[in-house]
């Protein structure tokens, strides 16, 4: 299933899509695969697999910790691709989220290195696209070409501080969905959801509706809202105005805080079910 179809399916059910993030290689490569499969089986509409990076400037403490553990155990590009492959058969689209240097320097073990090799291997594993937290469309020529060549979605971020002109430019470069960062800050669960997010979503939709922003084959672009969502109640709230509710740190926290892997997976399933129920009870 493609990202676009997953969002359309949720829309047809009158609700927002639930997007869940977990890093590859955490707590181990096999453990990470088990966790991502559990996530996919517990009610998310789209899975994000993180490729841990040594310098994750967009991430808060929870995802940083998980990434450090994964890196200390030696997670590599090929492990990320293997994780994608292991969940791609579950009927839930999978995108990778990572920092740009890892894509630019990607080596899957073969002789080629770089953006083209990454795109080829990601598509070959059944991956649907890539979220790029530190790549803006202004610097993305190589990725635009590679994502076109391999038919991958490209999800860029917009922020409350983005100007209308930048939102329009970014929306035009996106495929699959656009990632709206709801707050000015890093990833991490928060007690209250953002007051800036509804206005940002409205600005994105206004930009997307301008004639000529989106290509004819992609008449609408769903808006996913991320940063800060931690439970079903917040998912319901964000789902009332966004097309997608993105949850990361709260899910990672289930595994990080658990006394043992089984308890972590149980907590992950429980939270995912709670979030999935949340997006289903939104008033839209």
């Amino acid at each position: 299933m493609t990202v676009t179809v997953a969002f359309e399916k949720a829309r047809a059910e009158g609700r927002a899509a639930l997007v869940g993030y977990l890093p590859a290689g955490f707590p181990t490569v096999e453990g990470g695969i088990t966790a991502v499969r559990a996530l996919a089986e517990s009610g998310v509409d789209l899975v994000e697999v993180g490729f841990p990076y040594s310098d994750p400037v967009m991430d808060g403490p929870v995802i940083q910790r998980a990434g450090e553990i994964a890196l200390a155990r030696g997670v590599r590009g090929a492990d990320v691709i293997r994780t994608v492959e292991a969940v791609a058969d579950l009927g839930v689209p999978v995108v990778v989220m990572t920092y740009w240097n890892l894509v630019e320097r990607y080596t899957g073990g073969g002789p080629e290195r770089g953006v083209g090799a990454f795109a080829r291997d990601l598509a070959g594993a059944g991956g649907a696209g890539l979220i790029t937290p530190d790549l803006i469309p202004d610097e993305a020529d190589e990725w635009m070409a590679a994502s076109d060549e391999y038919g991958l979605d490209r999800i860029f971020l917009v922020a409350p501080s983005s100007t209308d002109a930048r939102i329009a430019m970014t929306v035009a470069a996106c495929r699959g969905f656009v990632y709206a960062t709801s707050v000015m800050g890093v990833t991490g669960a928060r007690d209250v959801t953002s007051s800036a997010a509804p206005a940002l979503v409205a600005r994105i939709r206004a930009a997307a509706a301008l004639p000529g922003t989106l290509p004819a084959e992609q008449p609408a672009l769903p808006v996913g809202v991320g940063l800060g969502v931690r439970d079903g109640g917040q998912a319901a709230e964000v789902g009332s105005y966004a097309d997608g509710v993105i949850v990361g740190s709260a899910l990672v926290g289930c595994l990080l805080d658990a006394p043992d892997p089984e308890a972590g997976l149980a907590a992950l399933r429980t939270l995912t079910a709670d979030l999935a129920a949340g997006v289903r009870r939104s008033v839209r």
Binding site: Y53, S54, D55, P56, V57, M58, G60, P61, Q64, E68, L71, R76, G77, Y99, W100, N101, L102, E104, R105, Y106, T107, P133, D134, L135, I136, D138, E139, F156, L157, V158, A159, P160, S161, S162, T163, R166, T170, T181, M184, G185, V186
Partner: protein, 406 residues
């Protein structure tokens, strides 16, 4: 009246391009949330470059507060030892003891012009943190400095200095707990507080406009030195030598000489235990092209693109990246970059102490050691300008232990 040319206006017309690229290097690889603040900073920087009132105020601060122009010293005893004429640009005599005061004064002035009441800064050994705290005190700004937890222990005196100056020092406990993680933490703070806060980055790295802005504030070093050389020699030097970590002192002294084709430019990276050992901080010599901290440049990284830790006896050079303009100068061949290992740097450190009565920063000792190498190449008739970028008071403990005199 003795006026100081802040070196700002004549920087126009060279690289980078409008979006901050030096050839394939530089640019902006940061979260979209920071783009508005970078655009605001870029506009403020461009406006300041064209504004004579800014130039005059910056020049006044450099002269009356920092002590610019710094002296050009004809080091005759050292020259006899070395076998070439060595001129030292005495940035070590500036207030706070290094070239860094130029950048922090420039950025603090811009901060007040942007109406922001708070600055944040990263620091490794604490030198840029102390300089930032100094400028914050001078301008009445709130100052928060991020510093690797390990470094706060090793450099307790600099932590005390920052606190005496009114700054808050936050130990960074994430990642490798070093300078690169302090930069990550500062970037995270900036994303969350960008309306009130300016990130006072300490070197010519980071996303555009930092590499060009920090260069513009540091390039007075070369503007002064070029004029001082002409006054003293009636001609330009044959070579200019500087140490390169992030590269602000090097670009500061190089930049005014770039159009002078007769002047060879040499940047000396920290070779640590030797580049072949893998324990070094020589990003250009021993790294590969990648993206780190918002710009494309040479990076010390593993085969997957994960940043690897740098090593150097000199904390100020201990950084796994390098400014994008240096990457470009290297690739175009306009400047040459070579490693100087710990032992070579410390030998030059000792030589300067005993021949001239000057204790240099260990960073600057790398430049000096490189100059000895260049002197052999160019011969006794040559004149070599060395940026003595900082003083060695902060390094007495390290040097004392190295030479066994503690």
């Amino acid at each position: 009246m003795n006026t100081v040319d802040a070196g700002l206006l004549s920087a126009a017309g060279l690289l980078p391009d409008a979006s901050g690229h030096f050839g394939r290097y530089g640019g902006r690889f940061v979260p979209e949330a920071l783009i508005a603040a970078l655009d605001e900073l870029d506009a403020a920087h461009r406006h300041a470059m064209a504004d004579e009132a800014f130039q005059a105020e910056f020049g006044r601060l450099l002269r009356d507060y920092a002590g610019a122009p710094s002296l050009l010293y004809d080091a005759t005893r050292l020259s006899e030892e070395v076998g070439a004429r060595i001129l030292l640009k005495r940035e070590d005599l500036n207030h706070t003891g290094a070239h860094k005061v130029r950048n922090v004064l420039g950025q603090a002035l811009l901060t007040t012009r942007m109406g922001k009441p708070r600055i944040i800064a990263e620091t490794g050994a604490g030198q840029h943190g102390v300089a930032s705290a100094t400028a914050a005190a001078l301008f009445g700004l709130e100052c928060v400095v991020y510093m690797g937890e390990e470094d706060t222990r090793r450099q307790a005196l600099n932590v005390a200095r920052m606190r005496l100056l009114g700054a808050t020092v936050i130990p960074v406990t994430t990642g490798s707990r070093t300078l690169k993680d302090a930069i990550n933490e500062a970037l995270r703070d900036w994303v969350a507080n960008v309306d009130s806060t300016h990130y006072l980055l300490g070197t010519v790295a980071g996303p555009h406009p930092y590499p060009v802005m920090v260069r513009d504030f540091a390039r007075g070093i070369g503007v002064e030195a070029r004029r001082q050389c002409l006054d003293l020699l009636g001609r330009l030097p044959d070579a200019v030598c500087a140490c390169v970590g992030g590269g602000s002192n090097a670009i500061g002294i190089f930049h005014a000489f770039i159009p002078d084709e007769s002047v060879a430019l040499y940047g000396f990276e920290a070779g640590g235990d030797g580049v072949a050992t893998g324990r070094h901080a020589a990003s250009i010599t021993g790294g590969a092209v990648g993206v780190l901290h918002g710009n494309r440049t040479y990076v010390l990284q593993d085969s997957d693109g994960q940043t690897v830790e740098s090593h150097s006896i000199s904390a100020g050079l201990d950084y796994p990246g390098v400014g994008p303009e240096h990457a470009w100068l290297n690739d175009t061949g306009r400047a040459r970059y070579e490693p100087v290992d710990d032992a070579e740097a410390m030998a030059a450190f000792a030589l300067l102490c005993r021949t001239e009565g000057i204790i240099p920063a260990i960073e600057s000792a790398h430049a000096l050691s490189g100059a000895l190498r260049v002197a052999k190449e160019l011969g006794p008739a040559s004149t070599i300008l060395v940026n003595l970028s900082g003083r060695g008071d902060k390094d007495v403990e390290t040097a004392g232990a190295w030479f066994g005199v503690l």
